[in-house]
């Protein structure tokens, strides 16, 4: 028998601190698989954000800069321009990318920076205890919307993939999910493409991952996976919004 599934080499062999059933663990592994696949371990510089994925540097076996909250695309711009031969990615939550860091992501994308952005949308500020994020679904109960998000006063869940795909500076923009094996296998292909647009010097690549946060959703991991399929995907459709798989 030969080994058909193993831990990627770029994923440090330590336990994750994430809650049971948290999709950050899956997305971290997919990033490490891509780093292995394209042989990028010695030339990758990651830029971590603030949120439950703040310990990226403990898990991915590459150099990582920790950016202030929301500023990862600005920090990554500096890193990539100073070291254009390195592979540079950011890994950001929805509170980070779509709230405090909205300006940074929009302008990095609009400038067409040669970056790969991994965006983990779990519809809440996970790390700080489940406050409403711009991505929170209409009606969703959070600690700051105890009666559910009211769109007339709290606005609508923001669709970052669609929004960024409108910018002429972007090259590849997609949305994926990892709640079922089928969606996960598709997600791998989309993330590879977001890596390739940088390794082939074509431009800005972005993948939004719809992700479960069972803890702040107050659900079992199984219920949380169902919620991704039943509530999130109908509003945040999966697919490619800019570019194509070759």
């Amino acid at each position: 028998m030969k080994q058909v599934f193993k831990r990627p080499e770029a994923l440090v062999d330590v336990p994750f601190h994430f809650c049971p059933g948290c999709h950050h663990g899956i997305v971290h592994r997919l990033v490490a698989e891509c780093i292995d696949r394209y042989g990028l371990r010695e030339k990758t510089i990651g830029v971590a954000s603030v949120g439950c994925s703040v310990f990226l540097y403990d898990y991915i076996d590459v150099d990582v800069v920790e950016a202030p909250h929301g500023r990862a695309p600005a920090v990554a711009t500096g890193v990539k321009r100073a070291c254009p031969d390195n592979f540079v990615f950011t890994y950001q939550g929805d509170g980070d990318l779509a709230a405090i860091g909205t300006a940074e992501i929009i302008h990095a994308a609009n400038r067409g920076e040669r970056l790969t952005v991994v965006f983990v949308n779990n519809t809440v500020f996970g790390m700080t205890g489940g406050q409403m994020a711009p991505t929170t679904m209409a009606g969703q109960e959070t600690t700051t919307t105890p009666f559910g998000r009211q769109t007339d006063t709290n606005g609508f869940p923001i669709k970052m993939a669609e929004l960024l795909s409108q910018l002429p500076g972007t090259t590849f923009i997609a949305r994926a999910a990892v709640n079922t094996p089928k969606n996960l296998m598709r997600a791998k292909k989309l993330l590879r493409k977001a890596f390739e647009v940088q390794t082939e010097n074509q431009g800005f690549g972005f993948v939004e991952f719809l992700s479960a946060c069972p803890t702040n959703w107050k659900m079992s991991p199984e219920q949380a996976n169902k919620r991704v399929g039943e509530e999130m995907i109908p509003y945040f459709p999966l697919g490619i919004f800019k570019g194509e798989l070759k």
Binding site: Q3, R29, L184
Partner: protein, 67 residues
């Protein structure tokens, strides 16, 4: 012939491998690891096809697959 292995101490009992297995071979048992989580186990290894979907879905990279 196929086989899977668990790094039991890394398992958090989330059950995502259980819902991923197309042959419904896995279950979260009542056995606890040192962290206090109930761990996933396979009932009938002979029926495993080595498809690796359980390992793909595991957020904690607990499962390795041989085929």
């Amino acid at each position: 012939m196929a086989a899977i292995e668990f790094i039991e101490e890394r398992c958090k009992g989330c059950g995502l491998c259980v819902i991923a297995c197309p042959k419904e071979l896995l279950k979260v048992s009542s056995h606890l690891n040192r962290a206090g989580y109930p761990v996933s186990t396979i009932e009938d290894m002979d029926a495993c096809t080595g498809c690796a979907l359980c390992a793909e879905m595991c957020p904690d990279v607990v499962i390795t697959v041989f085929k």
